[in-house]
């Protein structure tokens, strides 16, 4: 079993929204970032993985086991951070410890205390009095304290300042150091994923548009900036999508080296994940 997480042909239909044939593979020891605009299907994908919603068809395997058939066993080894749900804010970190030690077989109080200390979280203060960064750190401390092998994180850095974000990203990097642990993280802050993710999966309108290694995306893809007349000379098969700006065209190409060999464009920019996302969503073919 080399994959921590496998999703095959996942489909889920709602009124007005549909997840269509989602396929994903997250190898052990890796971080996969799921990007996409709000409402693209990131949270629905995560809910499906956690068996929080009933999928219409498809298969989800975690640690090689089907989530539906082995839910409790699998969930002993998963740490989850959800953007909008946690314990009541009237509980303090010490209260949460009292609850979690009765929920998880592997709950490690010493490790939890260590995280609280590292994150400078007071044990006896209710979380209502915490800042957004402290609340997120508490969620992460809880998710990590039963020695999970896989972290599933939904928007773990949203609403945080750059310093808190950087601290949290460091924690994630440390978590995968043993090459056994993996992280599946959804975020619309793509710059965070550019720093930590090994794989990037882009979802748009309930469909996976692309799923590649970060290096492949950021090093191989390119954005050609050209005029209308220059654009008209490009073969349709040689670019992914284009976007018309006020003075120029932004053309997304999959293999900038190959493109450079065929055409005479001198400036082909290295794209950011935001650039790729924007051209995919707003661009034309």
């Amino acid at each position: 079993m080399n994959n921590s997480l496998e999703v095959k042909n996942l489909c889920k239909k709602y009124n007005g929204f549909e997840l269509k044939n989602i396929n994903l593979n997250l190898p052990k020891g890796m971080i996969m970032g799921l990007i996409g605009e709000n409402g693209a299907g990131k949270t629905t994908t995560i809910k499906s993985m956690l068996n929080l919603i009933q999928i219409d068809s498809g298969e989800i395997k975690i640690f090689g086991l089907d989530i539906k058939e082995n839910e409790k066993k699998i969930k002993e080894d998963i740490g989850v951070v959800l953007d909008d749900s946690f314990f009541s804010e009237y509980l303090n970190p010490a209260d949460i410890n009292k609850v979690m030690r009765k929920i998880y077989k592997n709950w490690d109080e010493k490790l939890y205390d260590k995280y609280l200390e590292d994150f400078k979280l007071p044990k006896n203060k209710i979380s209502k009095e915490f800042s957004s960064g402290m609340k997120m750190k508490l969620k992460i401390a809880v998710a990590l304290s039963h020695h999970p092998k896989l972290l599933i994180l939904d928007e773990p850095t949203s609403g945080l300042d750059p310093v808190a974000r950087s601290e949290i990203l460091d924690i994630f990097q440390d978590f995968i150091q043993n090459e056994e642990n993996s992280i599946f993280v959804s975020s619309h802050i793509t710059s965070d994923l550019e720093h930590i993710a090994d794989y990037i999966t882009f979802i748009n309108n309930g469909e996976i548009v692309l799923s590649k290694t970060r290096d492949e995306l950021l090093e191989k893809y390119g954005i050609v900036k050209c005029s209308k007349s220059e654009f008209e000379k490009i073969d349709k098969n040689d670019y992914v999508k284009f976007k018309v700006n006020r003075y120029e065209y932004d053309v997304l190409v999959e293999d900038k080296a190959k493109f450079k060999r065929k055409y005479e464009f001198k400036i082909i920019d290295k794209p950011t994940l935001d650039d790729i996302m924007l051209i995919y969503i707003k661009g034309d073919k």
Binding site: K75, E76, S88, E89, V99, M100, I103
Partner: protein, 224 residues
Amino acid sequence: MKFLSGLITKDLLQLKSYKKTLIIYILIFVLTGFAQETTKGVGVMIAVMLTLGFGMFGMATFNYDEQAKTDRYILTFPLNKKEILVSKYVLIIGSTIIGAIVGIIASFLIVFIIDKQIPSLYDYINVALGGILGVGLIEAIQMPCVYKWGAEKGRIQMFIVAAIIILLIGGIFFVGQKANINLPVNNMPNILINFLPAILILATLIIYYISYRVSYRIYKNKEE
């Protein structure tokens, strides 16, 4: 069963912030009890209201869960929906029983202090059991409503469902009276007096069980 203690611990810890409200509530209802004309009336009122009050505190945990969306978070734990539901019913039934016990002790002591003689414990046990049945009926309707519509909307739906039930029962009696049908209610007291505790306990267990089955059916298919 460790999970059960974990989830109930969570609910009880959440209720910590309710401590002051609970004390104020107890004082108000003990004082309200004294407004009754007879000493027995005082005891009955205190026993019933404390049972009701404690039961309501159990239900208050749903508000905390809804506010923090804890329900969804809990489903990421190594627990299944049946276990989560059982923990809520244990909490609700447990808090009602504790309320009844506190109610019996409080009313027994207060009546003893006022009358300077030992009151009939049997009377107060029956009153408390009646209180549990009444609270149980409210909770039994409220629980599936909360699972179906959430804590806030569920409360409104619960009142609608309860109103329909009251209207239906009232309607049956009204139609019976108008049609001169002799309903067996008038003959019931003798049976009730002989088997009252057993009937009350059985009726309470039945309504909680039906409520649990309905809640489970709703919760099983609910998507978070």
